[in-house]
């Protein structure tokens, strides 16, 4: 903070000074006092260390059993259709949705929800969802975004140019990315009402200022519209996902951002009211845009760090997202597109936050292994080809202005760590290449 203050003092223009301070303090605009930022970081680190899993036995039989279960779990998913184009020989598709792990009723069917009434300040939907429009704000209009074909290899390898990799373009949202605000959380108790309301109110201001999400669900389960759905929100940053249509890179334009007022690792998880509201909101958005259940995913699942080619650059909802309670299948089991299509890796930081590798990572690894055999190259070589393709696409996107302008919103209080450090293993692998 003293560094920020010194820099600010060098700016003579009060407007420019305020602009600078607002920019650099944007993630902290949540009433978190400066003395606690460091404290919160230590607490988060301590929590992660406590939650970090111990060494796991990896017997062949155990691995086999686990993978069999995982493949069964994700095989119904629409995303699986995309994955199956990579390796249709090894992945079977099932018409029967998997049973959610606990609670709720997961369905790949798109619910029918309609608008009952609308005023200047609110919307009411047939499933009981009420959206507060008071604080809605505009951002840049949603751009037409490319959908890349699920071919592998760089243009140099495939003999096709970058343009040839675009199977089609889209202009409406195809998915939802769920976030946590990582903002200061007051105890969810009756005598904290005023503080809870004030924190939520301040959060709205921050989100509006950052154009961070399309919707915010506060701790009382109130749904606030932030950035208009017609516009892109700055929520996903560098990110990757895939479905039957193809690959989506940098999801600000193609996916809607929904944020829970919540903090990773906090003693209190999301409130029951937030779950109820999130379910209703998800149903409404899926109904409005025909969003596939497999495209309702968390920020950690889609976020990538091109700098070190690691997944989960942002770690909000890296674990314990209540898919089942929201009427969604366990999308942690969906093969991770950033891994099987672009060769992104993960590291120990991710494992500490996620607790254990998502089953979708194992499924993605299987796809890569099979495809590498088919291509007659090692898995490492095949991943390198995938990574080159990502870099080609990413640089071309940057030229067209569709490269994510920022790193995405990890949360407004920044307690979730990023997987920025490259592990020794990964470094060795890169050097070997």
């Amino acid at each position: 903070m003293p560094k920020i203050e010194r820099r600010a003092e060098c700016i003579a223009d009060p407007v420019e000074r305020l602009r600078y301070l607002r920019r650099v303090t944007a993630p902290e605009r949540n009433l978190l006092p400066p003395g606690r930022w460091r404290h919160a970081a230590w607490l988060t680190l301590a929590a992660m260390l406590v939650l970090a899993p111990g060494p796991r036995t990896k017997s062949a039989a155990g691995t086999f059993e686990r993978e069999r279960g995982l493949l069964a779990a994700w095989s119904y998913s629409p995303t699986n259709v995309a994955a199956s184009t990579l390796d249709s020989a090894t992945v079977s598709r099932s018409a029967t949705p998997a049973t959610p792990s606990s609670g709720g009723e997961a369905s790949t069917l798109i619910p029918h929800v309609w608008q009952v009434e609308r005023s200047r300040t609110s919307e009411l939907y047939s499933n009981g969802l009420r959206v507060d429009l008071t604080f809605q704000i505009s951002n840049r209009p949603r751009a037409e975004y490319p959908i890349f074909s699920l071919i592998e290899g760089s243009p140099a390898v495939t003999g096709r140019g970058w343009a040839g990799q675009v199977s089609k373009t889209g202009s409406t949202p195809v998915g939802i990315v769920y976030h946590t605000t990582e903002s200061l959380i007051a105890p969810f108790e009756e005598d904290q009402n005023r503080r809870l309301k004030q924190l939520g109110r301040n959060l709205i201001d921050v989100i509006r200022g950052e154009r961070a999400y399309h919707y915010l669900i506060d701790r009382f389960g109130r749904v606030f519209a932030a950035v208009a759905e017609t516009d892109a929100a700055n929520h996903a940053g560098k990110s990757v996902w895939a479905d039957a249509q193809g690959l989506y890179v940098n999801l600000n334009d193609s996916f809607l951002g929904v944020a829970f007022e919540a903090q990773t690792g906090a003693a209190e998880a999301v409130t029951p009211a937030q779950i109820v509201a999130a379910k209703a909101l998800t149903e409404m958005l899926r109904s409005r845009y025909g969003i596939a259940a497999g495209n309702c995913v968390t920020h950690a699942q889609v976020s990538v760090n091109p700098g070190n080619m690691r997944i989960a650059s942002h770690t909000d909802w890296a674990r314990d997202f209540p898919f089942a309670a929201l009427g969604l299948p366990d999308n942690y089991a969906v093969p991770l597109a950033s891994r099987y299509a672009f060769g992104f890796d993960y590291d120990s930081t991710f494992l500490r936050v996620a607790g254990r590798p998502w089953s979708g990572l194992d499924a993605a690894d299987q796809l890569i292994a099979k495809r590498a055999v088919a291509e007659g190259v090692s898995a490492a070589r095949y991943r390198a080809m995938l990574r080159r393709r990502y870099k080609d696409i990413s640089s071309e996107l940057a030229k067209t202005g569709l490269g994510a302008s920022g790193p995405g919103i990890t949360g407004l209080g920044k307690t979730g760590p990023s997987t920025t450090a490259m592990g020794k293993e990964a470094v060795a692998e890169e050097v070997a290449k």
């Binding site: 223009d13 407007v15 000074r17 303090t25 400066p34 300040t121």
Partner: protein, 364 residues
């Protein structure tokens, strides 16, 4: 700020119970009003401090109704007195600064669209009058459908301390009025606006207090980030109405006396001055108690590494001696935060609007 970064109009709007103040950027040397003004004129801190590049306009947030006649209407039009004619209702409504004169002439109390910092639910004309006053000050915007319409940052009060009163309706209504006028509205907490208007020297760290008509608004900010804000419902109107009740005078008369001649010196020439001192003291004590209570019970108050400034603004902070009286009572109660200074804003009547303008410009 880039010199040519703002081809749009930017306005700071202090929507107070008693007065509405508009701050607009004026290009240095041109003297033109700020719609579409280049903020290059506000490019340096020195210029902004001098206020040479900000133009302020202030209107009473009040109105008075007079009997309708074509002659009266003609006179008002000829004299360019802001008014609204409603021949159906057989009355003409004079609003803004002129309402005070007409109220004096007619020996009537002026009416106000707002009470205690928010739109008055008991005043049927509140929305229409607020809109008329804002329109007379800002003029119509360039239209909602256009990307380059003016940005208006308007102040909203904080929630009263210890109360759960909703301010959503007030904020949404003002926003709607401004949007319908063709502007792009953004709300800002009133206390925070004081900080943005007067505490740039401390990197927008400190406590801003706006002592207005309906409320006293308090905000603590650290590096421009609001940490704590609240309001208390004792301010200028509280003093006026109670003094009026005791003295039998009209509240409007009390207000004029207060603004013209009241000062804290311990010696009072007449009963009105004496009564004003009593209720002023009551208001300041309530404010100080609220400050202590709020800061003591809020866990999120930062541990500042150096003393922070406190700035007082608003019409109620104007009387000579106010700052000294406030400081004395504050130290009596052992305020928990170390303060570097307690001072009155450089321009107490305009600090809030200026802060709102700075915020609007920083948002462009």
């Amino acid at each position: 700020m880039s010199q040519n970064s703002n081809s749009q109009g930017a306005f700071g709007l202090d929507v107070g119970t008693s007065r509405i103040v508009v701050a607009r950027g004026v290009e240095k040397g041109h003297g033109e009003k700020g719609q579409g003004v280049e903020t290059g004129g506000i490019r340096s801190g020195a210029n902004l401090h001098d206020s040479h590049d900000i133009e302020y306009e202030s209107q009473l947030n009040a109105f008075v109704s007079i009997p309708y006649s074509k002659i009266t209407e003609g006179v008002l039009q000829r004299e360019r007195i802001p008014h609204t004619s409603t021949s159906v209702a057989s009355e003409i409504i004079v609003h803004g600064n002129e309402s005070e004169k007409f109220a004096g002439l007619l020996n009537a109390e002026i009416r106000r669209p707002m009470s205690q910092g928010v739109l008055d639910p008991k005043e049927p004309e509140s929305l229409r009058m607020l809109r008329e006053i804002l329109l007379s000050m800002l003029g119509p915007g360039q239209g909602e459908g256009r990307k380059d319409h003016g940005k208006v940052c308007f102040t909203v009060p904080a929630a009263p301390l210890g109360a759960e009163g909703s301010l959503t309706y007030h904020e949404a209504t003002v926003r709607q009025i401004l949007t319908e006028m063709g502007y792009q509205p953004t709300p800002i907490n009133e206390g925070l606006a004081v900080i943005y208007g007067d505490l740039e020297s401390s990197n927008y760290t400190g406590i801003g207090i706006s002592c207005g008509g309906g409320l006293c608004n308090v905000c603590l900010a650290y590096l421009s980030v609001p940490v704590l804000s609240f309001s208390i419902p004792k301010a200028g109107d509280f003093i006026d109405s109670n003094a009026a009740a005791v003295t039998g005078e009209r509240a409007n008369h009390i207000r004029l006396t207060k603004e013209d001649s009241f000062h804290f010196n311990g010696f009072f020439a007449d009963k009105i001055q004496q009564v004003l001192a009593v209720y002023y003291d009551d208001m300041i004590r309530s404010l100080v108690t609220a400050l202590n209570e709020a800061f003591a019970r809020t866990k999120s108050v930062p541990q500042f590494h150096r003393p922070i400034p406190m700035v007082l603004s608003g019409g109620t902070a104007l009387p000579p001696g106010f700052r000294d009286r406030f400081e004395k009572l504050l130290w009596e109660q052992d305020f928990p935060i170390s303060l570097s200074e307690i001072r009155v804003a450089r321009n107490p009547l305009h600090a809030t609007a200026k802060g709102a303008l700075v915020y609007a410009l920083s948002d462009l």
